[in-house]
């Protein structure tokens, strides 16, 4: 595989009588399009990732010297070819094809989608009716919550099959049967809703007839009822992949979402991005400021009904709410000093909001006690990356995997958490790259993996050290690269000397020969890429895990070239940007150390305020401090620590003990229930702002609709608070904030608001406004003191809490495909909620059988910190002895159970490993 293709040859053809210059490899259809000739097409989708199939025959053209017509979408040009796209023979054939297809369709006035490409091409060729008898029609399938299946409109073109199997590689749709019985199937001809469909909707986006449509746009008669009156180009509000999308707006409501050809997603979306949009219209939305009722103590915050906040709060004017919010903070600052205050920003907000929150905390609160949920995600990865290669971001975009020969995915389940990135990883594996999936749990990527190593939970370092050992012992490392670009080789060598596969195998549970195979394949690859997720980072040895991965990449020279790199997959749409913008207690924007006097004075000059010289507290430390009374006042913007922090009894108790809590959110979250003041904010589609995806791509999010009721845009709320703390801000729009950010963030050199308005996405670093951003960084050197990357050895350490007789199981936590983070948005999305409606503990068949329980039975999961009750799910991907609980369900919060023990460097809690036991409900 090579990133560099040789330039294509130019060929001469005669197209409709014109001598035409075309590129070798082009199809006739493309050559005609380039000349402004639109040849009808149905089974051909002119979009990246879609292979021409030439089956519908709607695009037939005549080529001189050939006995029969040719499908222009599929036939490549050749030197001297003489093509007639509009000969009578070609047009007759194309019209007959349309007539054959239209014969079997419901009439246009009855059509599910009368503006579908099929009908448009029928209209342009005057074949809206047919002389042929109609076939018998398939019954509608409305089993899927999001997708209406009306196969009476199907033309068997197979675009949905290619969408599902070749583009997104979700493997659900097939074309079964033969002849006139050829028909689209989901799995074994199952109802779509009963199939393995993951609801990405790529098939819907591809379907040219209306056989597959978003349910939201149809009436009860399965007919298109809603035509959007506005389309707004923006970015997905969920994970860090950063898919560009279009909000379809009708009557000031988002009615549908479609993928846009952004650089990260190439028009692909997942179920969340495509169908998880109606949370913003949920009746639970906060539409007016709320002030806590004096008769409701914080200890009684839960239970509460988010639909009815008035049990705990009273409505207030913005003026009153803001005065009270800022006043409380001012008072604590005055009485107890800045260190008694802290603030959480959010990785779900924009870069500008993140910047404003940290600026508010640093200049208004006058403390560095500002953090956000990256602490719970990739803090350890960032710690290791900064330590060893001087930068916390990815070294290459995920799409570089198309050029990889070997790909390691470790401690990540991208099919669930980064589905669109996963689709590109699958594309690469199908295209021939060796994919190695290293994770205790099985997952959807395994089907495409050359090897899947389901290692013992928590034994990452043992497995990775064994791989490093093999690469060094067998001299498979890139000696030249190691010599010129790295340091620490000798230490790494000596510290992994004893870590032979034989020695590590009993710890990690993987046979030595399999460890060797993966190590050798990765080392021998021309270009190798490493992806990782929370399975690596959320451990007390998370930083060590990441150190091993960095060593693995440096050792094999896999940084700074096409198809190679280190890529921690980011979990929230702006976790990269929020970190870059300085929502980190030890760094100003662009990772400038707060305890460096020189740096600090620079920021003091720009911001015009004296700044706290001490590093602030991190998320979990702030929770502890609040519990202990050291932190007395908090401002929480868009985060939900009452659900996301480990050991929730403790975290909630800490929130309850705060003297003053200001929460700014779109829903009355579990956290907001402890607030003194709740400020109703705007959802992502309700505001302008930039977000930075996992690839370091800064992208423009645009406002599609207004916030509901008296909810306000977040930048405005932050400014109002700031001004009530004496800061005197006067931003008039997020673009003003972005302009200021560029003053203090060299990473944004070359990226202006106007440029983002024009181009939608620019990757940093970016030298100037004319350059394109760098997809791959560190080709020559690293931003470290020596310019070299460091390989820091790691020792095998056990997890904090080892299973024992009382708690014999390993509990891991994480997300579900449909539910993102604490579920505050996705569980309020009709489709996502319907797909994953209830809390479940995922259990292996063996463990379920051991307790004589069945799927669906109510079980109790107990750890040393708490217990929750929920239903059992039989999960074939789990090894015996391991259970998994998603943390999105308020009715059974996983973080009641998790261990708050921290990684010493990244301060990230060990959310992926706790000792637990299962019992039948009520028998614990």
């Amino acid at each position: 595989m090579s990133a560099h293709k040789s330039p294509r040859k130019t060929l001469q053809i005669t197209l409709d009588g014109q001598q035409t210059e075309v590129q070798e490899g082009q199809t006739i259809w493309q050559a005609a399009r380039d000349k402004g000739t639109q040849i009808p097409h149905l089974c051909w989708k002119d979009a990246p990732g879609y292979r021409a199939d030439g089956n519908c025959r709607a695009c037939m053209v005549e080529i001189e010297g050939e006995r029969v017509l040719a499908a222009s979408c599929q036939r490549q040009v050749s030197e001297g070819m003489v093509v007639h796209t509009a000969s009578q023979r070609a047009e007759t054939a194309r019209k007959m094809v349309m007539e054959l297809l239209i014969a079997d369709q419901p009439g246009r006035d009855e059509a599910h989608d009368p503006v579908a490409p099929l009908w448009q091409f029928a209209e342009s060729q005057e074949t809206e009716t047919s002389r042929f008898p109609a076939r018998s029609q398939a019954a509608p399938d409305s089993s899927h919550p999001a997708i209406a299946v009306n196969m009476d409109a199907c033309i068997q073109c197979g675009l949905c099959v290619r969408a599902c199997r070749e583009v997104q590689v979700n493997d659900v749709i097939g074309l079964a049967g033969r002849g006139a019985d050829a028909h689209i199937v989901f799995d074994f001809g199952d109802d779509m809703g009963a199939s393995t469909c993951v609801g990405c909707g790529e098939c819907v986006q591809a379907c040219p007839t209306g056989a597959l449509m978003p349910k939201t746009l149809l009436d009860e008669g399965q007919k298109l009822a809603i035509t959007p009156d506005r389309q707004v180009s923006s970015v997905c509000p969920y994970c860090g992949v950063g898919c560009q999308l279009t909000f379809q707006v009708k009557d000031e409501k988002i009615v549908a979402v479609s993928g846009r050809p952004g650089p990260a997603n190439q028009s692909r979306l997942c179920v969340k991005g495509r169908y998880g949009f109606d949370y913003i219209h949920n009746p639970h939305r906060l539409t007016q400021p709320l002030i806590r009722r004096e008769d409701v103590p914080k200890s009684a915050s839960l239970p509460f009904d988010p639909a009815n906040p008035l049990t705990h709060f009273r409505p207030a004017s913005w003026e009153e709410a803001l005065e009270l919010a800022a006043g409380g903070l001012n008072q604590i600052k005055a009485e107890h000093g800045p260190a008694a205050l802290s603030g959480f920003g959010s990785a779900k907000g924009s870069n500008e909001e993140a910047y404003l929150v940290q600026k508010l905390v640093r200049t208004g609160f006058a403390t560095n006690n500002v953090d956000h949920c990256t602490r719970l995600c990739h803090a350890s990865s960032v710690a290791a990356l900064l330590e060893n290669i001087g930068s916390g971001a990815v070294t290459a975009s995920f799409s570089q995997c198309q050029y990889s020969d070997a790909i390691i995915v470790i401690g990540a389940n991208p099919s669930v958490n980064h589905p669109v990135a996963a689709s590109f990883i699958k594309n690469a594996a199908v295209g021939g790259a060796d994919l190695f999936v290293l994770d205790p749990r099985g997952q959807a990527l395994d089907r495409y993996a050359s090897e899947s190593l389901n290692f013992t939970p928590g034994s990452d370092v043992a497995l990775l050290n064994a791989m490093i050992h093999v690469i060094i012992a067998e001299q498979l490392y890139d000696a030249a690269y190691v010599a010129s670009h790295t340091e620490g080789f000798e230490a790494l060598k000596s510290r992994t000397e004893a870590a032979s596969p034989e020695a590590m195998s009993p710890i990690c549970g993987i046979a030595p020969d399999r460890i060797r195979k993966v190590a050798r394949s990765f080392a021998r690859a021309q270009a190798g890429m490493i992806f990782w997720g929370m399975g690596v980072s959320q451990h007390t040895h998370g930083t060590d895990n990441a150190r091993c991965l960095i060593s693995l990449a440096l050792l094999t020279g896999n940084v700074g070239k096409p198809g190679a790199g280190l890529h921690p997959l980011r979990g929230q749409n702006n976790v990269q940007g929020a970190s870059d913008a300085g929502l980190i207690p030890m760094f100003f924007p662009d990772y400038q150390a707060v305890d460096d006097p020189e740096i600090r004075s620079k920021y003091e000059n720009v911001w015009g305020h004296k700044l706290d010289p001490a590093k602030g507290l991190t998320v979990v430390e702030i929770t502890h401090a609040a519990y202990e009374g050291r932190i007395r006042g908090m401002y929480i913007m868009g985060e939900n620590p009452a659900m996301s922090d480990p050991d929730q009894n403790h975290a909630r108790a800490a929130l309850a003990r705060l003297e003053h809590l200001v929460v700014q959110d779109i829903f009355l979250t579990e956290t907001a229930a402890f607030a003194d003041v709740v400020l109703p904010a705007s959802a992502f589609p309700e505001k302008d702002g930039t977000v930075t995806n996992t690839d370091r791509r800064v992208q423009m999010g645009r406002q599609a609709i207004d916030p509901p009721g008296d909810a306000r845009q977040d930048w405005w709320i932050i400014q109002e608070l700031a001004n009530r703390m004496g800061l005197g801000w006067s931003y008039s729009h997020p673009r003003d904030v972005f302009a200021e950010m560029r003053l203090v963030m060299p990473s944004l050199t070359g990226i202006t608001w106007d440029r983002l308005e024009r181009e939608d996405a620019v990757t940093y670093p970016c030298a100037d406004e004319q350059s394109s951003g760098q997809d791959i960084i560190f080709a020559d050197s690293f931003p470290t003191a020596s310019g070299k990357g460091r390989m820091t050895p790691a020792d095998v350490l056990p997890p904090d809490e080892i299973p024992d007789a009382d708690y014999p199981l390993v509990l891991s936590t994480g997300r579900l495909l449909e539910h993102w983070h604490t579920g505050s948005m996705t569980r309020r999305s009709t489709v996502l909620d319907a797909l994953e409606p209830a809390a479940e503990v995922h259990v292996s068949a063996a463990d379920l059988a051991a307790m004589q329980a069945q799927a669906g039975d109510r079980l109790e999961v107990v750890t040393r910190r708490g217990s929750i009750e929920l239903a059992a799910r039989l999960d074939p991907n789990l090894p015996a002895g391991m259970i998994f609980v998603p943390f999105c369900f308020w009715e059974a919060p996983a973080n009641m159970l998790t261990n708050p023990a921290l990684d010493p460097y990244g301060k990230i809690p060990e959310l992926k490993f706790a000792a637990a036991r299962l019992a039948r409900a009520g028998q614990a």
């Binding site: 030439g54 089956n55 025959r57 029969v68 017509l69 499908a71 599929q74 007759t92 054939a93 094809v97 054959l100 002389r131 068997q156 599902c164 199997r165 493997d171 659900v172 097939g174 074309l175 079964a176 049967g177 033969r178 002849g179 006139a180 019985d181 050829a182 199937v185 799995d187 074994f188 001809g189 199952d190 009963a194 199939s195 469909c197 639970h284 200890s299 915050s301 839960l302 239970p303 988010p306 089907r447 108790a653 409606p837 209830a838 809390a839 479940e840 068949a845 109790e860 107990v862 217990s867 929750i868 009750e869 799910r873 999960d875 074939p876 308020w890 009715e891 009641m896 409900a921 614990a924």
Partner: protein, 580 residues
């Protein structure tokens, strides 16, 4: 959560009032999405596959294994197979559902009865009354047997043909078939054929050995073959020597596929040659492998010929004990009931374990065929004559033809003749000569018309019985072709429109369904041909576009019988008020 577990601040459980979505009745999923593999099915399929390392291209072989042992393909077993092969369920289902010989049974559906009797529905057998035979049998079928229609069984000289499972029963009648169905399954009878020892004793494999030993130069042999008028006898008629040299010029590794998917209605020559003298074909294949330089030879045999598959398996095993085939690898593959897999690129897809969808050309299979490698595809009979030509010289072969029609051909003659069967005679022989060779017309029948080349070669009137039946030439001028040289004779007792309808039904049944003109065109044509009044204008338009815009030869030729029926037999075309 447990009733006893209390929150430290509130003293109440962490239960919140009201569901977030406002919906009630939230039922947990209980498992991942979609059908889950059961441990039982997984164990059964693992046992059946017996520790083989599973290859994607062998999928159809595995499906046979399950169908043969279980009597059907249950969803549970297919799901287990998908998991073991690491394939999408949809991929398994779409392949399995493409082929007639697999019975796909979902949860809750009734598996087929233990016995399946197939009755041939193709033209020659239809002429012999197979439609009524099948209807009568179906009317009296119990729950232990099913009688189903099957496309051409390759025994048109024994019409009406039937099969017990896939074991041929020639000249079937109702009583006989009912007796068969009631009795125990007969063990597969192998035909009386020339085995390896006898073939060797009679001088077989000497040409191959000379080639392998360098005593006969590859180039000389190829030259000799190119001088001979041997052409592709599967129906396309491409000069064999030229094809070999084209593939030989392609970069290696090169592969070969022997097309034993003889399914063209009216054709039964390959079955004959393989069931009498299989090594003659095998030697031809091994000579090709030697001369062209073939890494692997795949023999794709239609599932309707189980006795051939069995004898090939036995003979190839014997051959493997010699050094005759040590220059290549031979793999025998079994079709699964799909006429389209006789189309070379569809056959290649099927050998790769996929649906038999013909590929677009270019690229031609000689450049990019099986597993995307340059591939030599030859029909069984084509290879069968290679040894004789190299032994006796191109002249020996060419001289057995007629002026302008060098070489000889094997015509499969069936229908209304006195003695249906194979006629080996000069290329370019005429229908009149073939009728004569078959003892004249059957008693009581007057010659009315004939199919010069199986189902797709068109239908000609008796007045054109003196056309030379060869590739191209005057036949092509009539819109017809000789194809696999299957000649079906029709008589005054036959309605040509009904014959054409039977053929169109065959094509509709056998269309792969890939392209619109063929999938929809054949289906619509069947319906329109059954109408009281034929819309000949629209049928003509449709036929032209099917010929012009279909991907492969099936769709391009499917309307030939219809077009020629309208042209030459207008009196049989139904018009309103006139009984068909």
């Amino acid at each position: 959560m447990a009733a006893g577990h209390q929150n430290e601040q509130t003293g109440t459980a962490w239960q919140q009032a009201g569901a977030r979505s406002g919906k009630s009745g939230r039922k947990p999923r209980g498992g991942p999405k979609g059908r889950q593999v059961t441990a039982t099915a997984l164990a059964e399929i693992s046992a059946l596959l017996d520790g083989q390392s599973l290859q994607r291209d062998e999928l159809i072989e595995y499906l046979h294994l399950i169908q043969d042992s279980q009597g059907c393909l249950s969803a549970a077993h297919l799901a287990a197979l998908a998991q073991l092969m690491r394939l999408p369920m949809a991929e398994i289902w779409e392949v399995a559902s493409f082929y007639d010989h697999f019975d796909l049974i979902k949860e809750g559906e009734t598996p087929p009865p233990p016995r399946t009797i197939r009755v041939c529905s193709s033209l020659s057998c239809m002429l012999a009354g197979s439609e009524k035979l099948l209807a009568d049998l179906q009317a009296e079928a119990g729950d232990q047997v099913r009688y189903i229609a099957a496309p051409c069984l390759g025994a048109c000289d024994q019409a009406p043909a039937a099969a017990d499972g896939h074991q041929l029963i020639g000249r079937a009648d109702k009583k006989g078939l009912q007796k068969t169905a009631a009795g125990a399954k007969e063990p597969l009878q192998l035909p009386d054929y020339t085995g390896l020892d006898a073939y060797l004793a009679a001088g077989g494999y000497q040409i191959l050995q000379q080639l392998k030993a360098g005593k006969l130069a590859d180039t000389d042999a190829l030259e000799s073959l190119q001088a001979a008028a041997l052409r592709g006898l599967g129906g396309a008629g491409f000069p064999t020597g030229r094809k070999w040299s084209i593939v030989k010029s392609q970069p290696g590794p090169r592969l070969m596929a022997v097309n034993g998917d003889e399914g063209e209605p009216g054709t039964f020559k390959d079955r004959h040659y393989l069931s009498t003298d299989p090594h003659r074909m095998i030697e031809g294949m091994l000579i090709a492998a030697q001369i062209v330089g073939i890494e692997r030879c795949y023999i794709y045999m239609r599932d309707e010929y189980p006795e051939i598959i069995a004898l090939l398996r036995a003979e190839l095993a014997k051959l493997a004990e010699t050094d005759l085939a040590d220059h290549t690898q031979i793999i025998l593959r079994r079709g699964a009931g799909a006429y389209i897999c006789g189309e070379e690129s569809a056959m290649i897809e099927s050998i790769e374990g996929k649906r038999g969808l013909p590929r677009h050309r270019p690229p031609y299979v000689a450049e990019r065929g099986l597993f995307d490698r340059p591939t030599l595809v030859n029909n069984v009979e084509t290879l069968y004559w290679v040894r004789d030509i190299l032994e006796n010289g191109a002249g020996w072969f060419n001289d057995q033809g007629l002026p302008d029609h060098p070489g000889f051909r094997t015509y499969s003659v069936s229908g209304r003749v006195a003695r249906p069967g194979l006629v080996r005679c000069a290329a370019g022989s005429t229908a009149a000569e073939l009728i004569e060779a078959c003892g004249g017309m059957a008693e009581g029948h007057q010659f009315k018309g004939y199919l010069p080349g199986g189902a797709s070669g068109g239908i000609l009137p008796a007045s054109k019985a003196d056309l030379p039946l060869d590739f191209g030439g005057p036949l092509a001028e009539e819109g017809c072709f000789v194809g696999s040289h299957a000649v079906v004779i029709l008589s005054d007792q036959d309605n040509i429109w009904q014959a054409a309808s039977n053929l169109m039904q065959f094509f509709a049944h056998e269309s792969c369904g890939q392209c619109t003109p063929c999938r929809n065109g054949t289906d619509k044509a069947v319906e329109m041909m059954a109408a009281e009044e034929a819309d000949t204008a629209l049928l003509t338009e449709l036929s032209a576009v099917m010929a012009d815009a279909s991907i492969c030869g099936l769709g391009q030729a499917a309307a030939n019988p219809l077009m020629t029926a309208m042209r030459y037999f207008p009196e049989d075309v139904p018009v309103k008020g006139k009984q068909k």
